[in-house]
Symmetry: C2
Subunit: 192 residues, 2 copies
């Protein structure tokens, strides 16, 4: 299981509850194996402090634990040590609140929450300004990504920042895996 | 099946052969369902001309055809029309050469090939300079991504450009899905 450290001030949370489904009902989504691998590898690439898989469902928690164990301690760790490196960053959390408490305890400081999404929000912040804000290394930030049809309005309203959507050419239906990759690169990637 | 048009001058090829495996042997990899969905959605987001799944294996060709048919014509097309939009961009091709011939026929012009990879190459081009080159809308470009352990040296050597790797913090093991997302955003995304 991942042991978190204050190596970096940005942490990522992949939210499986509360989430909208296609009909805009609030639901809990199932965990996708590819999300965990792809996002853990991005988190490691961009030097994040950690990656929280947020789900209250016991069956899903056990699934994630099994995946992490396989790659961090089990047969996968010797087959592919780079997966061990990335999956060591993964930790399970039962709720957004629990995630924020974990980080607040670690940093002895309130965590600033950043919400993401595909639709515009009246008070959203651009990538350039947020990149500047993240340079404050004394403050822990938690950037949340929604699975399913995205984070609920309430989660966004309770955030310190709502990041502007990635603007596509009239199409904004990226997978959460692709959105994570692009957003981390824009916020933390090297200047070109 | 996707019908290609000259709507944009950049096309993407996901190469399943020839590819290195873990031991640097040249192999053909199996198609991954998530690659097709995630990359098609990125291709649609960034306005690419098309997305070629390159594999010589008959079983894999049939698998890809089945996936595309489900989402473009079958039950998936009404369940989720945004997948229809993205998967309409997907076409199967049996080799890199066949892909380049298809595009050359369409454009009546030689295609310029761009190779990508996680390791540095002596003659690689940076993201900024390549972004400028892609502004030449009269020339068709094919950007190739390798599955498995990456494109072969020969494929790179035969390319017009080899793109610089994405620099991570001492870790460059992104999934091909994440690499596609980041690279398309760097080459075609809106300025921040």
């Amino acid at each position: 299981m991942g042991v978190f450290q204050q190596t970096a001030n940005l942490y990522l949370g992949l939210v499986h509850y509360p989430i909208y489904d296609k009909q805009k009902e609030v639901v809990a989504t199932a965990v996708t194996n590819f999300d965990i691998h792809d996002i853990a590898r991005c988190a490691r690439t961009y030097g994040l402090g950690g990656f929280f898989v947020i789900t209250p469902l016991e069956s899903q928690i056990q699934l994630v634990e099994r995946i992490i164990r396989h790659w961090v301690e089990g047969a996968g760790s010797s087959y592919n040590p780079t997966r061990k490196e990335s999956l060591s960053l993964v930790q399970i959390s039962r709720s957004i609140d629990e995630t924020e408490r974990t980080l607040a305890d670690l940093w002895k400081k309130r965590v600033k929450r950043i919400a993401t999404g595909a639709s515009p929000h009246p008070q959203c912040i651009g990538f350039g300004p947020l990149r500047k804000i993240l340079e404050d290394r004394e403050t822990p930030f938690l950037i949340l990504f929604g699975t399913g049809w995205g984070l609920t309005q309430e989660v966004k309203d309770d955030s310190d920042y709502v990041l502007a959507p990635i603007e596509g050419k009239g199409y904004n239906h990226l997978s959460v895996r692709s959105a994570v990759a692009i957003i981390l690169d824009r916020l933390l990637g090297q200047d070109l």
